[in-house]
Amino acid sequence: MDRLDKISGLAIVIIIISAVMLISSHVGEAVPEHDMRQKMAAADYSVVNSEMESGVNMIRNLIEANNLEKAGMLTQELIQKYPYEGEPRMMMGDIFMRRQEPLRAVPEYKEAVILNPDYLDKKTPLFQGKKLKVAVNEALEKIGKGVSENADKATIGSYKKDIYYLQRRIAGSCS
């Protein structure tokens, strides 16, 4: 048994221990990736729901009329009713943007994109990449200006995480 054998043996033991620790730390936990994939699969086969569509149209009209409070309430209801649909999340993001709150809009847009990647797919009619890019830029600007002075580091970190996620999705991917 030479030095390479010993080092390799040690590496294998360390890797096995790491794997056991990693797996045991996830036992019993909800696996968000599964959830995400299920949501994406649901988005692929989503059926156009006339009830949701009429709700979305109503909210759009309310946003146009600048009745943001009522629009927000109705959107929340839709989100609870249709948790696997991206459109209500997208509307919620729009409402926050209207309220000049891009930092709160970004997590909504992020969730919408997770639920339905078509929002960032130029080949589909749902593509809204430019709008999301504006939201990301405004959110970054807001963080840059120090608007979040009141927020603690963890909150800023969470904002940044969502912003960077959305930035990466906008930039594109091979998968």
């Binding site: 030479d2 390479l4 054998d5 390799s8 043996g9 590496a11 294998i12 890797i15 096995i16 790491s18 794997a19 990693l22 797996i23 996830h26 696996v31 990736e33 599964h34 995400m36 994939r37 692929d44 990647p117 078509d118 797919d121 080949k123 589909t124 990301v136 995480k161 960077y164 996620y165 930035q167 990466r168 999705r169 906008i170 930039a171 594109g172 991917s173 091979c174 998968s175």
Partner: protein, 408 residues
């Protein structure tokens, strides 16, 4: 280790002055840069190969391929696996002509140069398995070594972590080679065996053109993002042919630095050529990225990236380690399969299987990070590679004959 290089350089000398129109063009390009003692490895050809891979890759992204994905063996293998019905992700289904072109281009060039040799029998099943691991590593990093260079050239600073991982993997792999790792010497095979992979690619090309019902093609998602077929195919054929001629390989280039030291970049013609090829690839991709507006220097918000840096490092480490053990990166396996190496063919089939598993089991990295399943897969792959390294060593021996000229 240094005394290997001189003899090795002569042994692996493959490029000879050629006749015909293509040969005259090649000889002319070579005459511009080649000194008499290095005419087996014309520097011009290496620079040309790197330049073409760099420019065409960036341009294919510009013309429709996903961002920073002019060529990516792992992403494209996932597309092909999806198109053949090996996985059900409707956003990842396309018979990428670039991959088909690599193999067919290499096949045609090897026929033209009379270098098509049916060889095999060097642990093909194990190579199949390592092929699976290579694609898992690439998928976790979200790109193969070729794509890694495109990412770096486009300003993605996170890709440097991948380069670190790849170099670390190559270094570890070489330690095993240095101490007697061997998968067995390949031997001559019936010619028909070596035709299977090129034939498979030709059939897939036919399927891409004719679009029969059993082939799935994405209408949205990354699988629906592609450059015009003829451009992708032409680029694939050209690069396949050039890579067959030069032996261009990213991990091969890095391995030579570790095997024989920086001095070899001056004294070993093939090492010099590979270094020039990789350098030219990076510089031309860099220039093309800037000229086409695809350059964006930064740590955040880059295409095909995430913040799981540790896992990305390990993903590429697997690719480097595995590539050394089976004598070439995923790209090199395709080229070798095209020129008759049935062991590389087994690795290519393993890569296709790996691509299907990555999608079916959700192992690949995504914008959110490396999924739990991917992390477990990385640890499993690392463990498997170390175990393979241990099992296939001949203790007390050094480089096996098949490795004495470096990687392929």
């Amino acid at each position: 280790m240094n005394n290997l290089s001189g003899a090795a350089a002569k042994d692996v000398c493959k490029i000879r002055p050629a006749d015909g129109a293509l040969g005259r063009i090649r000889n002319w390009i070579s005459s511009l840069t080649v000194s008499s003692d290095t005419e087996c490895y014309p520097k011009g050809l290496f620079i040309l190969t790197g330049a073409i891979i760099g420019i065409t890759g960036v341009m294919l992204s510009y013309w429709g391929n996903p961002a920073n994905t002019g060529f990516c063996v792992s992403c494209f293998m996932e597309n092909i696996a999806g198109s053949l019905g090996l996985h059900g992700n409707t956003r990842m289904q396309y018979l990428r002509p670039e991959i088909l072109g690599f193999v067919i281009g290499s096949f045609l060039m090897s026929l033209y140069k009379k270098e098509f040799r049916a060889t095999g029998g060097s642990s093909p099943l194990l190579r199949f398995f390592v092929g699976i691991l290579l694609i898992i590593g690439c998928a976790v990093f979200m790109g193969c070594p070729i794509k890694m260079v495109y990412k770096i050239a486009a300003g993605d600073l996170t890709a440097w972590i991948g380069l670190g991982g790849l170099a670390a993997g190559v270094f570890i792999g070489l330690k095993f080679l240095e101490r007697g790792f061997t998968l067995g010497k390949p031997f001559e095979q019936p010619r028909a065996n070596a035709l299977l992979i090129p034939l498979m690619m030709v059939l897939m090309l036919g399927a891409l053109i004719l679009k029969p019902g059993f082939i799935a093609l994405s209408t949205k998602g990354a699988g629906a993002q592609y450059a015009p077929l003829y451009l992708s195919l032409l680029a694939g054929l050209g690069i396949g042919a050039l890579a067959q001629s030069t032996g261009f390989c990213i991990t091969g280039g890095i391995s030579r630095l570790f095997m024989w030291g920086p001095r070899e970049f001056t004294f070993c013609p093939k090492t010099t050529g590979l270094a020039l090829g990789i350098g030219s690839f990076f510089l031309f991709a860099f220039a093309a990225s800037i000229l086409t507006g695809q350059f964006s220097l930064g740590w955040h918000g880059q295409p095909s990236s995430n913040e799981s840096h540790l896992w990305n490092f390990f993903g590429m480490l697997i690719v480097g380690f595995g590539s050394v053990l089976i004598k070439g990166c995923p790209f090199r396996q395709l080229i070798s399969a095209g020129q008759g190496d049935t062991d590389a063919g087994a690795a290519v089939l393993g890569m296709l299987t790996g691509a299907a598993l990555v999608q079916n089991w959700g192992l690949g990295g995504n914008a959110a990070g490396t999924p739990f399943e991917g992390q477990v897969a990385v640890l499993f792959a690392l463990c498997a590679l170390f175990a393979i390294g241990l099992i296939y060593r001949r203790r007390g021996e050094t480089y096996a004959p098949e490795f004495q000229s470096g990687l392929d």
